[in-house]
Amino acid sequence: MYSVSYHRASSVADAAKLIKKAGDGKYVSGGMTLIPAMKLRLAAPTDLVDLRHVPELKGIKVSGKAVTIGAGTTHAEVAANEKLKAVCPALSHLASMIGDPHVRHMGTIGGSIANNDPAADYPAAMLALGATIVTNKREIAAEKFFTGLFETALKDGEIVTAVRFTAPARAGYEKFRNPASRYAMTGVFVAKGRDGVRVAVTGAGDDGVFRARDMEAALAKRFDAAALDGIKVSPANMMSDIHASAEYRANLVAVMARRAVARANQ
């Protein structure tokens, strides 16, 4: 790791102030992606502003179907929250499968979303749930938030403070993990809400998380795994690496989508 200066923020406003003063500063929350990247000298911020001790970023609020999750909430907390489990078990299930127990103790939903790793799980959920990403400056629809590989709509110094969504009637998430890294090699989140069906795919697309519109159309007619049978997933825009070719990933998208629907219908 290169040299870095650490600052611990006490509030969101404090964090914003600290990052402004920094040269090439970065926020760190759980640090589960950033710290490893810094260790390998692949990331070299001059300053780290730690959001882990900011109370206003923490906690899960469920009011009827309205869910708000503070950005600093860990995966373990999301996985274990009983109120959330009651209204949106698919998201709890997703959180329970991120990384490993140690990662889930540290990693946060805000950190995952702001990093937008193409193999991360949460972006698929946010997109499929039609979530709103709340920052210290504004609110951004998930659709507009994830803009490419490791790219988001966040401006310099902007902090994700929470995510908000209406719990869908049904939802399910299934992923096929990269056997080595255990990140999603393909993950599909399906949600059937008031405004229709959304299917979001992570880990597979060469431009990051995306919606599978033809699947959504088919599932809107009939929310059943069998409804996806005739749909061909094109390998054209899939990632390809030593673990999975574009063709194999395209297959996984179809398989995981069917399984996610089946899970949602359980």
């Binding site: 790791m1 040299s3 000298r41 056997p179 080595a180 890294s181 030593i242 673990h243 194999y248 297959n251």
Partner: protein, 784 residues
């Protein structure tokens, strides 16, 4: 036999320190004034070094010094060598290229060391290493052995034209050709044994300390054989004479072969300590380990087997290309030759065998022995061949094997080995019974209803352990003898220290060796200490690899115990005025049989040291040394049955049952033996399903250089195992031990691949059988 003696499931003595965090590994060592080293390594697979500019790095904060290969050469430090001479079939010696611990004018693989930076902290050393400016002229690289032999391929070493290190034969070509001439059936196959990275959990490390006052060096290193390290560093690398060099291998976190070899880093740390005047510690990052630890396997083989009309094997022809990487590691030449081709008869009576092995340089990490070393390659080849043949012939895999088993011993194979004992059918029967082989069809049908493809596969392996008779391996080219040493020291109060040349890095010697002593001398386990891993404490020894510590290391202890016991009897007989022949040792006492006369063990020991009343002419003291040179290899063998379920949608394979029936001869501690099998089988499953080192062909970059891309077996990837052992004692050593450390890794890969191919109905499937590969194979099969 007491509860702590031979055969008892004694909990390990060494565990206490490991479960409380008190283990002492090289990285835990701190020497006053110690500084930290980082190596500058080649980012290119093949390049000329035009210039190395260390000025900027030297000026960085905390930097003590930056040293390069030219300085090392000027100080007379020698090149790394391979210690096993192989002659090609034309009689010419193997063609070994030069391997400088720090590259001087050329780099040959990604990770090749170029310079060492010594600084106050590791972070500062890393910062400075990045500031070392190396000007390269990139050269074309080749990572595939076949391509490296081809016309126009990049040439790695001037000594080895066409990158060919040796072209070696074993067996009789004419007889084998004649056998094929008589064949009713011939089965041909191409088989790849995938390249693996050993991945001991403790990364390699070295701490070099030069003591100016004494003109003496100490090296703490992650070694399986510290004495061999000292010998080689003294005799060949010219670091220091043996009496001026102490090598300590303290707790070592796994080896699996990768810590047998002497690598550039320990040599350079010792040299750098003298150069800089400070103790120098280097600890590998995992990525560095991936790049520079000796890799394993990487064989490409074409084989043909000839059968008569009754499916009895007539002959076996094998042509193997072995990729040895960019340099010849310490025992690299032995692995694809005498540890491989000599086992090509498997468990079968094969009248004629001929093997040709070509060893080839490529721009990849050096390849050497990794758990099993040559024997997994042989077992995989034979057991895939048997399975494919059985399926082609339409007879059951078990029946084809049974029909060809060797059933009488000793059995001389056409490839050097003389199997002295075994009962192959017994293991096969035991494994099939434990696996409920007969009930498989029902399980397959049940799985089918759940949308899963279930398959079953077996493997009947044999290996050679207990390496090895020194004269025999000497005649085959080994540069060392492969005996072992032991010293048994009975202290004046009766406690015992056993100094062994074996080295434990997970095998539990502190317990099993003590069990042997406890049984023989009838003293409690707690009063016995096993001392190993330090050349200043222990007499010359050869170390631990090739499943040899039981068969060879403990046999040396037996020999020393024989001497101790004989002297103890003499002393006791003298003290009790009895006949030496009437002395029995039991319950911590030396007794005169048939009388109530006895001397406690400690009192006899005290008498040996006070020397007030010893038999006339007897030397005081009670300490004996022995060297044991085995008279033959040992031949562990067994049968593994693997059952899998494949998810046809994703190609994911679950191992739903794994049965291992092994014949390890006599067993000292069943609990520890089982642990060795669990670990070995898991590494074999890793090879079959998950692991594969992969280089980018054009750039020569190691694509799988971290756990992000190299799949290590995790708890969820493997099942709980069902083990059984049969115990046909090894005739060649006093304890009848065969060895158990490598069997699991040798026997399991073919069982797994045979099971998956059974499940998906294909003949070919390369390792690792990743989900993607299995899915593609299934898809290709349904297309036909």
């Amino acid at each position: 036999m007491g509860i702590e003696g031979v055969g008892a499931r004694v909990a390990r003595k060494e565990d206490k320190r490991f479960i409380t965090g008190a283990g002492r590994y090289v990285d835990d060592m701190v020497v006053p004034g110690m500084k930290h080293a980082v190596f500058v390594r080649s980012p290119h697979a093949h390049a000329e070094i035009r210039k190395i500019d260390v000025a900027a790095a030297r000026a960085m904060p905390g930097v003590i010094d930056v040293l390069v290969g030219r300085q090392l050469k000027a100080d007379g430090i020698g090149n790394l060598i391979c210690g096993w001479m192989i002659h090609s079939k034309d009689g010419s010696p193997m063609k070994m290229g030069a391997w400088s611990p720090l590259a001087v004018d050329r780099v040959r693989y990604v990770g090749d060391a170029i310079a060492i930076v010594v600084a106050e902290t590791k972070g500062q050393a890393r910062d400075a290493a990045e500031a070392v400016e190396v000007t390269y002229k990139e050269l074309k690289a080749v990572t595939d052995a076949s391509k490296a032999m081809g016309r126009g391929a990049p040439q790695l070493h001037p000594e080895a034209p066409n990158n060919l290190i040796f072209d070696w034969d074993l067996g009789n070509a004419a007889e084998t050709d004649a056998a094929f001439g008589k064949a009713a059936h011939v089965v041909e196959m191409d088989v790849i044994n995938n390249r693996l990275v050993p991945n001991a959990m403790e990364p390699r490390a070295a701490l070099g300390h030069y003591d100016k006052a004494e003109d003496h060096y100490t090296c703490w290193t992650t070694s399986q054989n510290p004495h061999v390290a000292r010998l080689v560093m003294s005799a060949f690398y010219n670091v220091a004479p043996e009496n001026k060099l102490r090598v300590i291998a303290p707790d070592v976190g796994g080896g699996f072969g990768s810590k047998i070899y002497i690598y550039p880093e320990e040599i350079v740390c010792l040299w750098a300590s003298k150069k800089t005047g400070v103790p120098v510690k280097w600890v590998a990052d995992r990525t560095e380990s991936f790049m520079t630890d000796a890799h394993g396997r990487d064989h490409h083989t074409h084989a043909a087997m000839a059968f008569d009309k009754d499916y009895r094997i007539l002959g076996f022809k094998v042509e193997t290309k072995a990729n040895l990487g960019a340099y010849m590691s310490l025992f690299s030449s032995a692995t694809p030759t005498y540890l491989y081709a000599t086992l090509l008869s498997g468990q079968y009576d094969i009248p004629a065998i001929h093997a040709n092995v070509k060893a080839i340089y490529t721009n990849t990490a050096p390849v050497d022995a990794y758990r099993g070393a040559g024997r997994p390659e042989a077992a995989f080849l034979i057991e895939r061949m048997m399975e494919v043949s059985a399926r082609r012939f339409g007879i059951s895999p078990a029946e084809l094997r049974r029909r060809n088993f060797i059933t009488s011993f000793p059995h001389q194979t056409p490839v050097i080995m003389n199997y002295d004992a075994g009962d192959f059918a017994a293991s096969l029967d035991a494994a099939m019974k434990a696996a409920d082989y007969a009930g498989f069809a029902r399980r397959r049908d049940e799985a089918k209803r759940r949308g899963r493809l279930r398959g079953i596969g077996m493997s009947c392996y044999i290996e050679a352990c207990g390496i090895a008779p020194s004269a025999a391996v000497g005649s085959l080219g080994a540069g060392v003898g492969l005996w072992e040493s032991a010293e048994v020291r009975v202290n004046a109060v009766g406690t015992i220290e056993v100094l062994t040349g074996s080295h434990s890095h997970g095998q539990g010697h502190e317990t099993t060796f003590a069990q042997l002593v406890s049984q023989r001398l009838s003293v409690p386990l707690d009063s016995i200490s096993i001392v190993h891993g330090d050349t200043d404490k222990v007499q010359m020894g050869m170390g631990t690899y090739g499943s040899r510590s039981g068969a060879v290391g403990m046999s040396a202890i037996v020999k020393a115990l024989d001497k101790v016991e004989a002297k103890a009897r003499k002393i006791a007989a003298h003290l009790m005025e009895a006949d030496e022949a009437d002395i029995v040792i039991e319950n911590g006492e030396l007794k005169v049989a048939g009388t109530d006369k006895k001397v406690p063990w400690f009192q006899m020991a005290l008498a040996a040291y006070t020397a007030h009343n010893l038999p006339a002419g007897m030397e005081p003291g009670l300490k004996e040394t022995a060297f044991y040179d085995p008279s033959n290899f040992t031949f562990p063998a067994g049968c593994y049955v693997c059952e899998v379920e494949v998810d046809p949608d994703t190609g994911h394979t679950d191992i739903v049952q794994f049965v291992a029936a092994d014949d390890f001869g006599n067993i000292i501690n069943p609990m520890i033996v089982e642990g060795q099998v669990h670990g070995g089988v898991t590494q074999g499953i890793g090879q079959a399903l998950l692991e594969g080192a992969s280089y980018d062909e054009s750039s020569g970059q190691l694509v799988t250089a971290s756990y992000m891309d190299y799949t290590m077996p995790r708890a969820g990837d493997v099942p709980s195992y069902r083990l059984s052992t049969s115990n046909t004692p090894a005739p060649s050593n006093p304890l009848g031990i065969k060895g158990c450390g490598e069997a699991g890794a040798i026997g399991s890969p073919p069982a797994v691949i045979n099971a998956i191919t059974d499940a998906i109905g294909t003949e070919e499937l390369t390792m690792p059988a990743t989900p993607q590969k299995v899915w593609a194979a299934l898809k290709a099969a349904t297309r036909h």
